[in-house]
């Protein structure tokens, strides 16, 4: 069963089409990653799933319900820009958000989450006294305290230090283990690769990728070589069969043209210098993202 389903959903703002004929099925109990460049329609899609915005056409079903009221208490939403009352105490703001989700007695759940995310000592402090990372954790608790079955997280890890990121990631995975369906948007491709069962990419309002990481990468074929070579700064662009080089400094990522001879490439590389690493593989999600949304796409003939 799908926790969330979008059928041919379109949303426009005046002349601008934010989401264009989007269909999507998010299976229950999975982690679904939304990726896409800024302004591509991720947040609009999340807001429509939350019924904060209404689609111009198409249909959205959340937990089998079409109506906002029916599923509303079973869905948690963490917006991209955090929304907490600065003058309220941490504990009070969490009880307030829990009550808004229909939770009558939230004391135990709030205390437990505060303890778990190492915020118990800050429970009676005002939100304005918290650091950015702490505020983000409080907002996360506010999203999940009422035990939602579907959790929508808009950029949940942005701006977090590695320690807090680990804490939050573990909390997200724990929610999934308990049966919740997680949908989150991110710009961090590494996080999406590691955490998501399914990845969905939206570009200029249209769906351009949707599936498991494996199926997406398979679609692009084995056309990427990761190389580490001591070659005195020579360019690798003139290598046979190489159409693009991404230089990471210590590493280079080469994209091969269809049917390129990898053995010949390696042979030429060996003549250029000492090859420390040579790995043939599928393109990373980052690379796929850039291929779709980066300069290459802009330059590609229509």
């Amino acid at each position: 069963m799908n926790a969330v389903q979008l059928d041919h959903v379109t949303k426009t703002f005046g002349p601008f089409t934010a989401v264009d004929d989007l269909s999507l099925q998010v299976p229950t109990g999975t982690i679904y990653g939304f990726i896409g460049p800024n302004g591509s329609g991720k947040t609009t899609t999340l807001r429509m799933i939350m019924h904060i915005l209404h689609p111009d056409s198409g249909e959205i079903t959340v937990l089998g319900e079409h109506s906002f009221r029916a599923a509303n208490n079973r869905v948690g939403y963490l917006p991209e820009e955090r929304g907490l009352y600065k003058q309220m105490k941490v504990r009070d703001v969490l009880h307030f958000y829990a009550a808004l989700k229909g939770m009558r007695d939230s004391k135990q759940a709030v205390d437990s989450w505060l303890e778990r995310l190492d915020l118990a000592a800050w429970a009676d402090k005002k939100v304005e006294a918290l650091s950015k990372g702490m505020s983000q954790k409080v907002q996360f608790i506010a999203t999940v305290v009422a035990k939602p079955e579907v959790v929508l997280l808009d950029e949940p890890f942005s701006g977090l230090d590695p320690v807090n990121m680990d804490v939050l990631r573990e909390a997200v995975l724990e929610l999934r283990r308990q049966g919740a369906t997680i949908i989150f948007s991110t710009h961090d491709m590494a996080v999406a690769e590691k955490m998501c069962d399914f990845i969905f990419m939206i570009y200029k309002g249209r769906k351009v990728l949707d599936g498991t990481l494996d199926s997406i990468q398979t679609g692009y074929g084995t056309d990427t070589v990761r190389v580490r070579i001591e070659c005195n700064g020579h360019s690798l662009m003139d290598l046979p069969g190489v159409v693009k080089v991404v230089d990471f400094g210590r590493w280079q990522e080469l994209r091969l043209e269809r049917g390129a001879d990898v053995q010949s490439l390696l042979a030429v590389l060996l003549t250029r210098g000492r090859v420390l690493h040579f790995e043939l593989g599928r393109p990373s999600l980052h690379d796929i993202f850039v291929r779709i949304a980066g300069v290459e796409k802009e330059e590609a003939p229509s």
Binding site: N73, Q87, F96
Partner: protein, 447 residues
């Protein structure tokens, strides 16, 4: 419904638990009572420094000045003290009159003298000067077509125009002296004709049980004006005190993206209704505190009859409607603005309309059945305050007018809440730049 109450409870607590709210709530009566006390104290702390006045008596034989001076001496001896026992304390200035003689009574000489005396006033030698015209004793016969002679005047020149005590005293005393000299009777005899005070009272009633005619209670003139005036001012103040922070709260929620989280839990219209109920709670809290204090004060000053139960019930009905009507508009404005500064531009026309009752209040207190007042009391934005003023002034408007005004305001309030809800729905998620008034109207009609 439960979520609406959750929002209302949060907004209510957020508003009333702030230090600024408690300080404003407590400070307002302190300031009001304090200003009364200070004024009362100031009345007894007036400048008691002697005030000198020059008097030019142009009547034949200067008959008026000696009598005027006698009155001044009597006043200085008896009327300028707080207590009339041995420990009396001077609370008013003495009036010291000096006669200024005019050499030759010509117009030029008079003008020169006026200039010289004016200079003495400027030099602080005297407080002012009085000129008694040469013909003040000429009687003016009633119905006579002959104009009064030019010299029939009493003139006072000073550079302290706000000091009323001397001119008031002069007016009364000069009238007594002139009447005495005109009639040929001694001043003491004229003084016996004390003016009769008019007692203003309401209508007599018949006791339904005993059948006896009950005299109306004595009406305190001050209370007649103060009670309706205070009720209207209180309603205006409460509407502003509760609606303005509500509007600022919405802007804060927008700016800090709290609105998005809230809208993830309840629809915009419910959110706005929750906020309105929060405002209502705040306004009723303020009303409870001030009306409670007002009832206590009314009891102390024996004017409780002006705060009767029906008046209070009408007050609460109109206040609830006013808070809903203006509160919804203020919330809509908050939702359409992106920062506090923008709200000021949008709220200006609403404030102008809200102030209409305050402009008409004077006329309403003077004549509650004035056609303008009646018309304005049926103009819904003004109705709560002006109808309240009319109801608080006995005997009040006919019941049908009061009921009709409630129906009218209720209909407009529902319209305002509906329109505000449509603006709120769009505005609350709008970022970047704020909306113009024309855009707000488009949101109302087109969504």
């Amino acid at each position: 419904m439960n979520k609406i109450l959750v929002v209302a409870a949060r907004d209510y607590k957020a508003a009333v638990r702030t230090k600024s709210f408690i300080i404003t709530l407590l400070l307002m009566p302190v300031l009001m009572v304090g200003s009364g006390v200070v004024q009362s104290m100031m009345r007894t702390q007036t400048n008691t420094k002697d005030k000198k006045f020059a008097v030019v008596d142009r009547t034949a034989g200067s008959k008026i000045f000696p009598l005027l001076q006698r009155y001044a001496e009597e006043r200085n001896a008896k009327e300028i003290f707080e207590e009339k026992d041995e420990n009396r304390r001077q609370i008013r200035a003495r009036f010291l009159l000096e006669e200024e003689k005019l050499g030759t009574d010509t117009e030029d000489a008079v003008r020169d003298l006026r200039l010289r005396l004016s200079q003495r006033v400027r030099d602080d030698e005297i407080w002012g000067f009085v000129e008694i015209g040469p013909d003040v004793l000429s009687p003016v016969l009633p119905g006579s077509s002959t104009p009064p002679p030019q010299g029939r005047y009493l003139r006072y020149q000073t550079n302290h125009p706000t000091y009323e005590e001397f001119p008031t005293w002069l007016q009364i005393r000069a009238l007594l002296i002139i009447s005495s000299l005109q009639s040929g009777r001694p001043v003491e005899e004229i003084e016996k004709f004390q003016p009769l005070l008019l007692r203003r009272e309401g209508l007599s009633e018949k006791d339904p049980k005993t059948g006896a005619v009950i005299d109306p209670p004595v009406i305190h003139q001050v209370a007649r004006f103060i009670v309706p005036g205070v009720l209207v001012a209180l309603m205006f103040m409460i509407v502003m005190l509760s609606s303005t922070p509500g509007m600022q709260g919405v802007v804060e929620e927008k700016m800090q993206r709290i609105a998005e989280v809230l809208l993830g839990s309840l629809p915009p219209f419910c959110l706005m209704i929750g906020k309105l109920l929060g405002l209502m709670g705040v306004s009723l809290t303020i009303a409870a505190v001030y009306l409670g204090g007002g009832l206590w004060a009314a009891k102390q000053f024996n004017i409780l009859e002006f705060l009767s139960a029906p008046v209070l019930v009408w007050y609460l009905i109109f206040q609830v409607l006013a808070v809903f009507m203006y509160g919804s508009i203020f919330l809509a404005i908050g939702s359409a603005a992106t920062d506090i500064k923008e709200t000021q531009t949008l709220v200006m026309p609403v404030m102008l309309i809200a102030c209409i009752p305050m402009f008409i209040l004077g006329t309403a207190l003077e004549d509650p059945n004035h056609p303008l007042v009646i018309a304005a009391s049926f103009f819904p934005p003004s109705t709560p305050m002006l109808m309240m003023a009319r109801i608080a002034i006995s005997p009040g408007p006919p019941l049908w007018q009061s009921l009709l005004s409630v129906v009218l305001v209720l209909a407009v309030t529902i319209g305002c809440v509906y329109a505000a809800g449509r603006i709120f729905r769009v505005g609350i998620l709008m970022q970047g730049k704020g909306a113009k008034i024309g855009q707000l109207l488009r949101w109302v009609f087109r969504g």
